[in-house]
């Protein structure tokens, strides 16, 4: 909070100084009466900059180490944030010097230089924060600079405008109107830049629409947008006043008071902006909190037959009725006076009602991010917990055929059914933590820690593939089944996980070499063909071989072969065959993005398998690389 307050108080004087520099130039006014104020404000900004670096240093260097020159100088010289602060502070000192020089010298060039340095000072407000985050694309980092310069120019100009109007006694109303008109144009341009850059920033820092409500950052941003809407409404009223009021009747006093109200909201906006600059961006949050008991979902409600008179039915009916009313008000002559207010309100409320009718039940955990990545090791652990705690109802493979299932009043969920995909992984985490929707499934928070619950969910994700994975064959499928990641043995320390092999397709081969005689020879020949086929196709090859397999057929190996075999055995299903946790032989082709695309049960010289493998790899090389997030699935 201290850093946020420092940023707020640091931005305020520099923004107002820029505003007082800009406004006189809009109407060719002298601006001399603002010179002392500009110099004072620029000086305050420069002084507050030193407090900011001390505050930043305190968050980096915890007590009891002192914050003094000995600790500050290395921080400033050797860290990105320190160098960024130094650059911004040098700019602010130049700004203060130029503003002070204006007290003793009248010069148009000095005025212009001071103004542009001032704009640069407010542009670099964000460089000691998220703008310096090198995990963000360059265009996002540049958007921060554009956003702060446009927003603070607008805010500073607004404050300056209110100041000008309040001290405009003796000025002709035509002059005041001309200033308001020209300022209105500048404000529109600034707001347009704020909107465009804000969208660019939100794309990276928020990440998804649910994050707007499910994270602290998102909630603050939503509040900021609400403040912005209020600001724009007042600005609209002021703009209409300027265009409709005759110049001689322009009331600068009234305009200044309404502008002051807009500035109060702008002040709140500035504080919120300073606060979200120091908290975790929504896209990086791992523990989310969804505040509503429902969430809109077109996918989950598609095809859902809404019972008449149910709450969802009523929400939809009211929403449609309001939408029709919004349209009717616009066309009915007697309602013309109300249409500018009634139509937008009715349309917005109607839209909200329709959204609620297209919603499903949700929980605080609904959009939670997993604490465990989607790995074979996690799937293996999750399967063990599932076997220990869940099979009595859900059955060994989640098909709701456990021994206790038939005695339950409400049958357990079939975890292999398509409807499972309509729920978020957070929903499943909530049921594991607090018990199921039906009230019959118990809570497992005491038996399973947080990570254990996410392991079970990772296993359930793989389990949800089994319905269709039994038909996976050499012909290939679309990108749908994500291959679990796992740790690889790599003496060069380069490809330490399976995921790092992305960019090139990988043949993932499993085999148990326990056979004897002709069977062993056939298996060895198949494994040899797999190795040669992968090599000639230009694919990576990872082998999870157990038993007495020839050393020559092995390639990159897994650190935990038992866990990897266990995880992939879940999808190694065939029609009319019982499930086995061991894979006698199977070769999965993973595409360059990380999706399982084909499976070969065995390779032999005359089955055409190697040729098909090569053809698949060649086709996959032309596919665009799709980014899979193993952490937020």
């Amino acid at each position: 909070m201290e850093i946020a307050l420092l940023r707020f108080f640091e931005s305020l004087p520099s923004a107002l100084a820029v505003g007082l520099l800009l406004l006189p130039r809009l109407i060719g006014e002298d601006g001399a009466r603002f010179k002392p104020a500009v110099a004072f404000l620029a000086g305050v900004r420069a002084i507050l900059g030193f407090f900011l670096i001390a505050g930043i240093a305190r968050t980096i260097i915890p007590p009891p180490k002192p914050i003094d020159l000995a600790s500050l100088l290395p921080l400033i010289a050797s860290t990105v944030v320190g160098k960024a602060w130094a650059a911004s502070q040098i700019l602010s000192l130049v700004f203060a010097a130029l503003a002070a020089a204006r007290l003793f010298r009248d010069s148009v060039w000095l005025d212009r230089a001071t103004l542009w340095i001032g704009v640069a000072v407010i542009a670099v407000v964000s460089v000691t924060g998220h703008a310096a985050d090198d995990s963000l694309p360059v265009w996002t980092q540049l958007s921060f600079l554009l956003h702060t310069s446009a927003a603070l120019t607008w805010f500073g100009g607004l404050l300056g405008l209110v100041w000008w109007m309040a001290t405009a006694r003796g000025k002709p109303p035509e002059v005041a109107r001309r200033l308001a008109e020209r300022w209105s144009l500048v404000a529109k341009i600034a707001m347009a830049l704020v909107a465009v850059s804000g969208l660019a920033l939100a794309w990276e820092t928020v990440g998804s629409f649910p994050n707007l409500l499910a994270t602290a950052y998102g909630r603050w941003l939503t509040f900021k947008l609400a403040l912005l809407c209020a600001v724009l409404l007042i600005a609209l009223a002021l703009a209409r006043y300027v265009t409709r009021q005759p110049a001689k009747a322009f009331d600068a006093d009234w305009y200044g008071r309404v502008g002051g109200a807009e500035a109060v909201l702008g002040l709140a906006l500035l504080f919120v902006a300073g606060w979200i600059a120091v908290i975790t961006p929504a896209a990086h949050e791992t523990e989310l909190y969804w505040p509503l008991p429902f969430r809109p979902s077109w996918a989950a409600t598609w095809g859902y037959k809404v019972p008449m008179w149910s709450p969802a039915w009523w929400w939809g009916v009211v929403g449609l009725a309001l939408a029709l009313a919004a349209a009717a008000v616009w066309w009915i002559p007697k309602a013309f006076n109300w249409r500018r207010i009634a139509t937008p309100i009715a349309a917005v409320v109607g839209f909200i009602c329709v959204i609620v009718s297209l919603s499903v039940e949700a929980y605080p955990d609904t959009y939670n991010d997993p604490t465990v990545d989607y790995t074979a090791e996690s799937v293996f652990r999750g399967q063990a917990n599932f076997q220990a705690l869940c099979v009595s109802c859900h059955g060994p493979m989640g098909a709701a055929d456990g021994p206790m299932a038939k005695d339950l009043k409400v049958p357990p969920a079939d975890l292999t059914a398509p409807h499972v995909g309509n729920h978020t992984i957070g929903d499943i985490f909530h049921w594991l933590t607090h018990g199921g929707q039906s009230g019959f499934m118990p809570a497992f928070a005491e038996q399973l820690g947080v990570d254990d619950r996410w392991d079970v969910i990772n296993f359930l994700l793989v389990l949800s593939y089994t319905d269709r994975s039994r038909f996976l064959g050499p012909g290939g499928i679309i990108q749908w089944m994500i291959a679990p990641d796992f740790a690889l043995i790599d003496p060069a320390d380069q490809f330490t996980t399976f995921y790092r092999l992305r960019g090139t397709p990988t043949l993932l081969s499993f085999a148990r070499c326990h056979a004897q005689g002709e069977e062993a020879k056939a298996l060895a020949a198949s494994l040899e063909l797999a190795k040669e086929g992968a090599k000639s196709a230009g694919a990576h090859h990872v082998t999870v071989y157990q038993g007495d397999c020839p050393q020559g057929v092995k390639d990159r190996e897994a650190v935990h072969p038992k866990e990897v075999e266990g995880a992939y055995s879940v999808i190694n299903r065939y029609p009319n065959e019982f499930y086995s946790g061991e894979i006698a032989e199977a070769h999965f082709l993973i595409d360059r993005s990380g999706y399982v695309r084909a499976r070969f049960r065995h390779f032999s010289p005359d089955d055409g398998g190697v040729a098909r493998l090569s053809a698949h790899v060649a086709a996959m090389a032309k596919e665009p690389l799709v980014t899979i997030n193993l952490h937020s699935h």
Binding site: I56, T59, I60, I61, P74, L75, S78, T79, V80, V81, A84, T128, G129, A131, A132, D133, D134, S135, T215, A216, Y217, R219, W220, T222, F223, A226, L227, A230, L233, I234, A237, Y241, Q245, A249, D251, W254, R257, V258, G260, A261, V264, L265, A268, V278, T280, H284, E285, T286, E287, L288, Y289, P291, V372, E377, R381, D451, A487, T496, T497, V559
Partner: protein, 133 residues
Amino acid sequence: MKSYPSSLNLAVATRIAAVALACGALSLSVRPALAHSFLVEATPSSKDHVATPPKTVKLRFGGGVEPPYSKLTIETPDGKVLAEGAVGKPDKPRELSVDAPELAPGRYIVRYRVLSTDGHIVEGNYEFTVDAK
């Protein structure tokens, strides 16, 4: 002098501000999210079981980190610090490592407090196990 329509005057604007601020306060009266973790990859990884004690614990983060102001520790479950440090490489600005002592079979906790290039502190921990031979 004629004022602008009374439907939008200073009193209304102030009320709008008050309602907006009240709504904002209400919407924010939920528990805050906990600290984030930018950790992308670790070796040994979280909940990993390793047959051979690692000589080095390596962490990779989503963004650049500042080694002089970061700290990694390897601890026993009861909090005893066995190793401490943060070594970075100029060509790998997102990675930090700490040398591990000879670790006996058992559970270990890796804690990290890392300064990101944007000036934010990232903290977290995870555990791994050295399996008995």
